[in-house]
């Protein structure tokens, strides 16, 4: 674990795995004075909290934290995305196998970013790890389910995007007026279900 200064009141905590990211996130999120905790692929940005955060981190061994119980969210998906055949061809399997692999895997929200409620899910089977599209779409429809690199995700609203799209969901991914505005938050477990 390495602490990197990030402005006057921030620290970027660098760790070596997504699991350690989750351990750091849980350790610092309730420290007094903390304004933002932003987990990412291999880092957690902590803004505010000063000495309290440093004290908590000094006592933490992020590799020695039990998997805490997490909420599971199920996303119903219609697998008819425009890139389904491309994904199948790249992986050297059939479209049906892509769907089966995507549905049978168990995912975790590693972090959010890009747009409100856009959750990067880890746990994608290796065979489905694929590059982004060579030319991003100028508009990806709301609810589109895509894959890119080691991640899969669902688009909470229509935006430009370069992920390979394999399906779509009607799940309410982001509702700013809801008690919990984002359906998926860091640490949640996620499954996809065929509808």
């Amino acid at each position: 674990m390495r602490l990197l200064r990030c402005g006057a009141d921030g620290v970027l905590v660098e760790v070596s795995s997504g699991r350690e990211v989750e351990a750091v996130r849980r350790a610092v999120r309730d420290v007094a004075g903390v304004v933002e905790v932003v987990p990412a692929a291999r880092t957690v940005l902590v803004v505010g909290g000063g000495a309290g955060v440093r004290a908590v981190l000094a006592d933490l061994d992020p590799s020695d934290v039990d998997e805490a119980p997490a909420r599971e969210v199920v996303l119903p998906v219609v697998y008819d995305g425009p890139d389904l055949d491309l994904v199948a061809a790249t992986a050297g399997i059939t479209a049906d196998e892509v769907v089966r692999l995507h549905v049978e895997a168990r995912y975790r929200v590693a972090f959010c970013g890009f747009a409100p409620g856009f959750a990067y899910l880890t746990g994608l089977p290796d065979v489905l790890h694929q590059a982004r599209l060579e030319t991003p779409r100028t508009k990806v429809p709301r609810g589109a389910v895509g894959i890119a690199g080691e991640y899969t995700a669902a688009y909470p609203r229509a935006t430009p995007g370069g992920w390979r799209l394999i399906g779509r969901t009607d799940a309410p991914l982001f509702d700013p007026d809801g008690r919990a505005p984002a359906l998926l938050t860091p640490g949640d477990h996620v499954r996809f279900e065929v509808v």
């Binding site: 905790v37 932003v38 959010c112 007026d177």
Partner: protein, 286 residues
């Protein structure tokens, strides 16, 4: 009669802004909020509002509104002429029902702020009324004909004899705290210290794009990819072409290019006022 402002003209861009919605970055929600919170705060005090009241951030000028009810209005930021019913007035100014307030073109700076007693009372989203252009949260850019609800006036306007307008010098000297990824650059402090930049036309509420010196990475990181990581407001991110971007209030919550340093918070509001062409020099610290 309900208290409202009717928008008669917007200028290039007029946005409802307050202190923003920090605390939601882990959901992918930017902080947003006024780019010059010092000027918005002053305008709010002048009309007797709480610090968290929303006002209108006007790019360059050109906003005109009609008040439906008696209220006090204050215009802050860089100097821009203020007219009530077509006549020049000093700010703060009282508006009677039916009065029209027009803000002319600012001669310096970029963002003029209008606060009205009671504050602009559009529906808050995640605790803030700020328009977030990157994520599409909060009210969209104001359009002619919009009717903005005003809250009930509460405090007493503090009044002012003379308002000192914001002035941005032709060259801004910007203190920067190195990190978190300064180690990705050869002699990062020296490179920042010697570089010369100017604010690009492509700048917006997401970030100040700078033209000029290209910052050079170390040999070992030149072709490396940085996994996305959290970004703070004021982060000086360096994309592959070496030309820095300083992230402002509507910045994305994560990014994948190295951040060489973070601008000291006390000068951020000046960056929010810097017109294209303003020269920028960085002064690395620590």
């Amino acid at each position: 009669m309900s208290r409202t402002l009717t928008v008669l003209a917007t200028g290039p861009q007029a946005l409802v802004q307050d202190r923003g919605r920090p605390g939601h970055a882990h959901l992918g929600v930017p902080p947003s909020g006024a780019l010059d919170p010092v000027s918005l705060g002053l305008a709010n005090r002048l009309v007797g509002n709480d610090g968290d009241a929303a006002g209108i951030e006007v790019l360059i000028g050109g906003l005109a509104v009609r008040a439906s009810a008696s209220c006090t209005a204050a215009v802050t930021g860089p100097y821009a002429p203020v007219r009530r019913n077509g006549r020049d007035v000093d700010s703060p100014v009282h508006l009677a029902p039916g009065d029209e307030l027009a803000i002319g073109r600012a001669e310096h700076g970029l963002r003029v702020y209008l606060a009205v007693s009671g504050g602009v009372d559009v529906r808050p989203v995640l605790g803030s009324r700020a328009a977030d252009l990157l994520s599409g949260l909060g009210p969209g850019p104001l359009a002619v004909g919009d009717v903005l609800p005003l809250g009930a006036a509460r405090g007493v306007p503090v009044g002012a004899d003379v308002l000192v307008p914001v002035r941005i010098p032709p060259e801004l000297v910007v203190p920067v705290l190195l990190g978190p990824r300064h180690e990705w650059f050869d002699n990062p402090a020296a490179q920042l210290d010697k570089g010369n930049w100017a604010v690009s036309e492509k700048s917006n509420r997401v970030g100040l794009r700078l033209e000029g010196t290209s910052l050079v990475r170390t040999e070992s990181t030149r072709y490396s990819e940085l996994p996305s990581e959290g970004l703070v407001t004021g982060a000086v991110q360096v994309p592959a072409d070496g030309r820095p971007v300083v992230f402002l209030a509507d910045h994305p919550t994560t990014g994948g290019y190295p951040v060489i340093g973070v601008v000291a918070p006390q000068v951020l509001h000046q960056l929010g006022q810097a017109r294209p062409g303003t020269r920028v020099r960085f002064r690395p610290q620590g």
